[in-house]
């Protein structure tokens, strides 16, 4: 009932133009920042390789990292061809 009233008064929080603007702003900035800095994606790629190589051998040249935008979210997509999985003799390396 309250919700109905709020909507009636144009105060539905989710669809208020402020919230729509805030969400659109967030998405557009994620995209802009990646677009202006390919170096960031590149260094992300390098660090990914380092971490993953603890566990498996991967095809570094075929590795692809990109940010994809769906309707209302941005996803980091990584396509990492695995050549061989290492046999873990010790406990996994856990980040501190």
């Amino acid at each position: 009932m309250l919700e109905f009233l709020m909507r009636f008064l144009g105060r539905d929080p989710a669809s208020s133009s402020k919230n729509i603007a805030r969400e659109r702003l967030r998405l557009v900035l994620v995209h802009d920042r990646v677009n202006v800095s390919p170096e960031v994606l590149e260094s992300l790629k390098e660090e990914l390789i380092q971490v993953i190589s603890h566990y498996m051998e991967i095809d570094e040249d075929a590795l692809e990292v990109s940010l994809n935008q769906a309707d209302n979210s941005v996803a980091l997509m990584a396509n990492i061809p695995v050549l061989r999985v290492k046999r873990l003799t010790r406990e996994p390396v856990t980040p501190r």
Partner: protein, 267 residues
């Protein structure tokens, strides 16, 4: 030795020139020696906001190209002692100045003034590069609109790249009533997204238009809310701790109504 502050935004029409004129005037009113430099070549406007358009003899490019001495081109404000103004050229094109020349000019002005405020043109090309060339720090102006915040983000990245740290954000043209009704981005929404600290929030104020008509910056009008916000920014630039304006005050009957019925939200 003074400080060179560039006022910039990326997007046009967000209030760079208004901010430059008002903050500069407020700093001078606080007893500082201030030089305002219009670098918007071909689209001169700071002269009008300051009401100094009839006093222009030489301009920025006359100085950088050696047509005249810096002292000859600086116009003294008619109201405040320590306030000076260097106009942009209206007829020449932007490529007539180089970043190197701007660095020299800034260095020269710093010798004589406490603050040198550089009014930057819109865009991220040559005019921007010239304006930031000699700057020690930046004031980034934005409006509560997606496009303006997006451009501010871009500019902040470029400022970092040109090693101007210590940038501060001014959110201009906030309309508290629209924010309250959920129809305008609020200051938090903007700060959440930009990696930069806030130095002031300036409300939408029709006195800005009136003061521009008159050629008298709104900071000289003690009843202007935007003028008050710009005066506060000037004091924060000087290092004073000034609380942010309560933008919800003075908005008709609503605050009264809320107070009477105990509905005031603690913001």
């Amino acid at each position: 030795m003074g400080e060179v502050v560039v006022v910039t935004s990326g997007k046009g029409g967000v209030g760079k020139t208004t901010a430059t004129a008002n903050i500069g005037t407020a700093l001078a009113a606080l007893g500082k020696r201030v030089a305002l430099v219009d670098t918007d070549i071909g689209l001169r406007k700071l002269d009008l906001v300051l009401g100094l358009e009839n006093r222009i003899v030489f301009h920025l490019i006359d100085v950088t190209s050696g047509n005249c001495q810096l002292k000859q081109a600086l116009i003294r404000d008619k109201r405040l002692d320590g306030l000076y103004f260097l106009p942009a050229a209206q007829t020449r094109d932007k490529t007539a100045v180089t970043p190197e020349q701007m660095r020299e000019l800034s260095a020269q002005l710093k010798q004589d003034f406490d603050y040198v405020l550089i009014d930057c043109p819109a865009g991220i090309e040559q005019g921007f590069k010239n304006a930031v060339a000699g700057a020690d720090r930046a004031l980034v102006v934005t409006n509560p609109e997606i496009s303006a915040v997006r451009d501010a983000d871009r500019i902040i990245g470029l400022l970092e790249a040109s090693e101007i740290t210590n940038s501060r954000l001014i959110v201009n043209r906030i309309r508290p009533n629209m924010v309250k009704r959920g129809n305008m981005l609020d200051v938090e929404d903007i700060l959440d997204n930009l990696r930069i600290d806030l130095i002031g929030v300036v409300p939408e104020d029709e006195k800005i238009l009136i003061s521009t008509n008159r050629g008298e910056p709104a900071v000289l009008d003690s009843s202007s809310r935007a003028g008050q916000a710009f005066r506060n920014i000037a004091r924060r630039i000087l290092g004073e701790e000034v609380p942010f304006l309560n933008l919800e005050a003075n908005e008709g009957w609503r605050p009264w109504f809320r107070r009477i019925f105990g509905l005031s939200n603690a913001r």
